[in-house]
């Protein structure tokens, strides 16, 4: 079976307790860009993003598409799924995560997401890319298809995580959008997953472009970039620390809002390198066998 052109709902999902961060919205704008390049129709893409500034959210998404679109809130996803008419769902989750689940007004637990997908009428399979921190809490749950009586089975759910029981990593990248080049700290696993959909690669050489290929591609490239960024960051970290200390001393000697801003900027640059150096990211996939036969 094929996802693009089939009965597939493509979900771009960003829930948040308060306002979604711009960098996470751009993750999804890049997703829209890549999915349309892959031949997915905007009518089959559903976007759910939380936040009070709906205009800015739409402005960001518009960077990735010239098609008309609607951005709903995360709670609408769970409502929409009660009347699902698609056989397949491919879902991309970005934003924050923690031990309670995906960040939201009421954090979304693994059981809540899995139950929603399993209960979706007509749904046969769901593929979920989880980019948020601590995505590994969604691993080791009963995602496979099960008989629910009278010859019926519930949906086969495939979860993939950018990271296990650690934070996930983002790195600054500049990508070409419809309005020009945009720079943002991108969720690396999602960046490469989206890239794979726009330019599929047959990683395992079986002659097909499958979800398993997308997992291996996103994993290999995000790990490679992380290693390069860590090495470069270590080399720069001493210099960045010295600059931060110097800016802090300037602000302490002659405090002012501008000096505080400079100190914060130096600390931000230093802290981003430290985050990279001290976080280990390793992707994972749950219910891998069906993913080997689901073609894009």
């Amino acid at each position: 079976m094929s996802l693009v052109g089939g009965s597939t709902k493509w979900v771009l999902f960003l829930s948040a307790q308060a306002d979604a961060e711009p960098r996470h919205i751009v993750d999804l704008a890049y997703g829209v860009l890549c999915l349309e390049r892959a031949g997915v129709k905007m009518a089959d893409i559903a976007i759910y993003i939380d936040g009070g500034d709906r205009v800015s959210i739409e402005n960001y998404i518009r960077l990735g598409t010239a098609s008309p679109f609607v951005v709903k809130e995360s709670k609408d996803f769970f409502l929409d799924q009660t009347t699902n008419a698609h056989e397949n769902i491919v879902m991309f989750v970005t934003g924050h995560g923690g031990p309670d689940g995906i960040d939201a007004v009421k954090p979304i637990t693994p059981y809540a997401l899995l139950s929603c997908l399993k209960a979706s009428p007509n749904l046969k399979q769901a593929v979920v890319y989880l980019g948020q921190c601590y995505a590994g809490i969604f691993n080791y749950i009963g995602a496979g298809s099960k008989t629910i009586g009278e010859g019926q089975s519930d949906a086969n759910v495939i979860f993939m995580g950018a990271t296990n029981l650690h934070e996930s990593l983002s790195s600054s990248t500049t990508e070409m959008f419809l309005s020009g080049p945009l720079t943002w700290p991108a969720n690396l696993f999602l960046l490469f997953a989206f890239k794979w959909f726009s330019s599929p690669v047959d990683v395992d050489g079986d002659g097909r472009f499958t979800i398993m290929d997308s997992y291996k591609y996103a994993g290999v490239y995000s790990n490679a970039v992380n290693k390069d960024k860590k090495a470069a960051g270590l080399a720069k970290s001493v210099d960045l620390q010295a600059k931060w200390i110097a800016a802090r001393e300037v602000n302490q000697a002659n405090p002012s809002p501008a000096a505080k801003l400079d100190e914060d900027a130096e600390y931000t640059r230093y802290a981003k390198v430290l985050e990279l150096l001290y976080v280990h990211q390793e992707c994972w996939i749950l219910n891998a066998i069906p993913s080997q036969s689901i073609e894009v």
Partner: protein, 93 residues
């Protein structure tokens, strides 16, 4: 949303480290069409925790403490003469 590249000399009051955060995409330098209530602000700077009003030279005016979520981001700015990250999606191994 419009994307602009400007020279760093266009905003001389902004420090180099701030400009580098902007070019990394960590902080946002932007303009909004919704200027009601902020007549002196030419630009806005969004950091990790705050949004500041800047004048036309980049001088920090004040922190936006009310209705910050109503500052629609309509134009984003980067500095053309300060390095920006390259595309990671085109990484080749």
């Amino acid at each position: 949303m419009k994307l602009h590249d400007i020279l760093s000399a266009r905003l001389p009051e902004i420090g180099d480290s701030v400009k580098e955060c902007v070019n990394l995409g960590e902080w946002l330098l932007f303009k909004t069409e919704a200027l009601a209530g902020h007549p002196k602000a030419a630009f806005y700077l969004k950091t990790d925790d705050c949004i500041f009003e800047l004048d036309d030279s980049g001088r920090l005016l004040q922190e936006v403490t009310e209705d910050a979520d109503k500052l629609e981001i309509d134009e984003l700015f980067y500095f053309a003469d300060i390095s920006r990250p390259t595309s990671l999606s085109n990484t080749r191994l």
